[in-house]
Symmetry: C2
DNA sequence: TTTGATTGGGAAAACGTTTTCCTTGTGGCA
DNA sequence: TGCCACAAGGAAAACGTTTTCCCAATCAAA
């Protein structure tokens, strides 16, 4: 991209200098008019400068502005896994809200790797970003450094790894976990199973801990043989492999809680391969409620996360952070979505 | 984010000046060492500077560098619709490839709006981005201006709106459209239908034009009453509404080509509501092959797009553009994926 | 010993902004 | 007539880099 030409000539983008020359004023005046500083220019001067701006198609170079101000328009969103539709949906929501707030989103995929997360944290700090949104943070040295330095961080989905207060946007995973348990209990199902992903995510931990606690409260057993997981980062594969283990162990539960929709998809595939029908033979409950569920997974009951609301909450948290320094803690409402045989007809 | 402190003291990030002071050299020397300029510093000086860098945790401020160089590490990806899993997958692939190439991706969602696309094009130019990748471009004034100015643009998926040569990465949509037709023809199906999305996308146009041409070649009729679409940007809703129209018109085709997987999902839902089974009663063929298809849509035959390969091709196109100015045109291989009753068992 | 190249390194300009001073002129008010 | 406040605007510094000159020393060849 061509650097601006200081003289108004040539095809490059115009700089503040060329505007000043054309309008016959100093660059200071142009800057003040562009930024709406009052009482620093007469009405005729303002008109002349604005005409020059329009004629030249001038727009301030963000890089110069960022250097001088010590802050750019950029906001970084570090997502743990963009392949996950839930994270992609939240990212899309954040993008819209940030744009409306006058910011530009930089999206990065950390692949749940501390090293990659650190690399991006350093780069974003060097970009003078206005804030960093961590969509599924993982503990890492630079993250600790950023927190210690008081950088404007917002944690989304997963709670901050270590202790102190920090801005957070998410849902009540524990409450939702209890609701899932109640769903099964209310229908008199007592032969249950649980498939979950990596426990490094606080969201996953909260969900399954509350689920198990609620079952224990109700006196419904959930032996270790009915709890399955698998290694890896791909929830689809985890669901498939874990379901395979459950089947191999001879368990035939009436209901299975999968800690994410993708895991439920994986489990469903294995069940389909085994000729077991969902939801007739076994009820599957997922989590996140992928927007595609109504279309391609009408057999999946799930906990609906209000994706659209995340963007606004993130913007709000960032604003509070840069204003007062208070760390907002927003818990968005979720909704239990029951899908069943009725929907499949 | 704190601006660096020139004096090495305090908690802020260190700047090149603090490194120079600590090592007892000038900032010019530090810069040269950081950038690996040979024959400009003795081995002991290099060691001293590198130790100072390590001790202070120095990293060059990208904004300063970008201003001086006239180019940043940023590469913009303007996607037409991030809610589309196909675009999200390509974006994820681009992110990885760009990171490996030393760039940082800025992701924007233009929502297929020319105004929004223009806004982002202007902002990215002001950010001194290294390149702009258009994932589904839409004609707009600024886009024309960028092309005229010779900005490094790469078109992905959809061909550039107007005439001249430009860097492009995509697949052979026309060839794939013919394959879809052949799929039906080979199985002796002659009662066919077509559901498609907005024709402003060259990808969609290429697909359905070739599909119809191939049918015409084979002497298989496809009357207008068997071609349906609907307004809007949401392919799911388009598919549902268009299928509804086909059913309302009394058509009962043996096979339906949907110009995208999301449209196929929409059509499938309408068929399910009508009690029509896929693929037993009607064969659906989509396009894009959403990675989730194997898991949640085992009834959907589709054209698989090599998402993973897009990132590398995009990086290559950008490199060629900034090096010689030649506009690479990369056509990636697609694959026809047949799913049927066998897979459903 | 001169010449000429090479190495090692510094001073300063430049990139495009924003903002702090500063100056000048003008009107109001005692 | 003084004096002060304020409007209007310019000069220049600063932000953190990179890079172009420049200079001094060293060393090889003549």
């Amino acid at each position: 991209m061509g650097r601006p030409r200081r003289d108004g000539t040539g095809g490059g983008a115009p700089s503040i200098t060329s505007v000043a020359e054309r309008a016959g004023v100093s660059i200071a005046t142009v800057s003040r008019i562009v930024n709406g500083v009052a009482n620093k220019a007469g009405p005729d001067t303002v008109a002349r400068v604005q005409r020059a701006i329009a004629e030249l198609g001038y727009r301030p170079v963000s890089v110069g502005r960022a250097l001088r101000r010590g802050e750019s328009r950029l906001v970084a969103l570090l997502a743990a896994n963009l392949g996950n539709p839930a994270m992609a949906a939240i990212a899309a929501s954040a993008e819209t809200a940030l744009r409306e707030a006058g910011a530009v989103m930089v999206l990065c995929d950390t692949h749940d790797s501390p090293a990659l997360q650190d690399e991006y944290l350093l780069e974003m700090r060097a970009q003078f970003v206005r804030g960093i949104v961590l969509l599924g943070a993982v503990p890492s040295p630079q993250l600790a450094a950023c927190r210690a330095a008081g950088d404007p961080l917002v944690f989304v989905g997963r709670r901050p790894p270590d202790g102190p207060a920090a801005a957070f946007v998410g849902i009540d995973n524990a409450g939702a976990g209890r609701e899932v348990a109640d769903h099964f209990l209310d229908r008199g199902m007592r032969e249950l199973a649980l498939i979950h992903g990596p426990l490094q995510s606080s969201a996953t931990r909260d969900r399954i801990t509350a689920f198990r606690a609620r079952l224990a409260e109700a006196g419904v057993p959930l032996p270790a043989s009915r709890i399955a997981t698998a290694d890896g980062i791909d929830h689809l594969a985890i669901g498939h492999a874990a379901m395979d283990r459950l089947l191999a162990a001879g368990t035939r539960p009436a209901g299975i809680f999968c800690s994410s929709d993708l895991i439920a998809y994986g489990a469903h595939r294995r069940l389909r391969e085994a000729g077991i029908d969902v939801p007739a033979d076994v009820v599957l409950v997922g989590f996140d409620d992928n927007p595609l569920n109504d279309w391609v997974a009408p057999w999946l009951t799930s906990v609906q996360v209000p994706y659209r609301a995340f963007g606004a909450a993130i913007v709000e948290a960032l604003a509070a952070l840069s204003a007062g320094g208070t760390a907002l803690r927003t818990i968005l409402p979720h909704q239990f979505v029951v899908r069943g045989p009725a929907g499949a007809a």
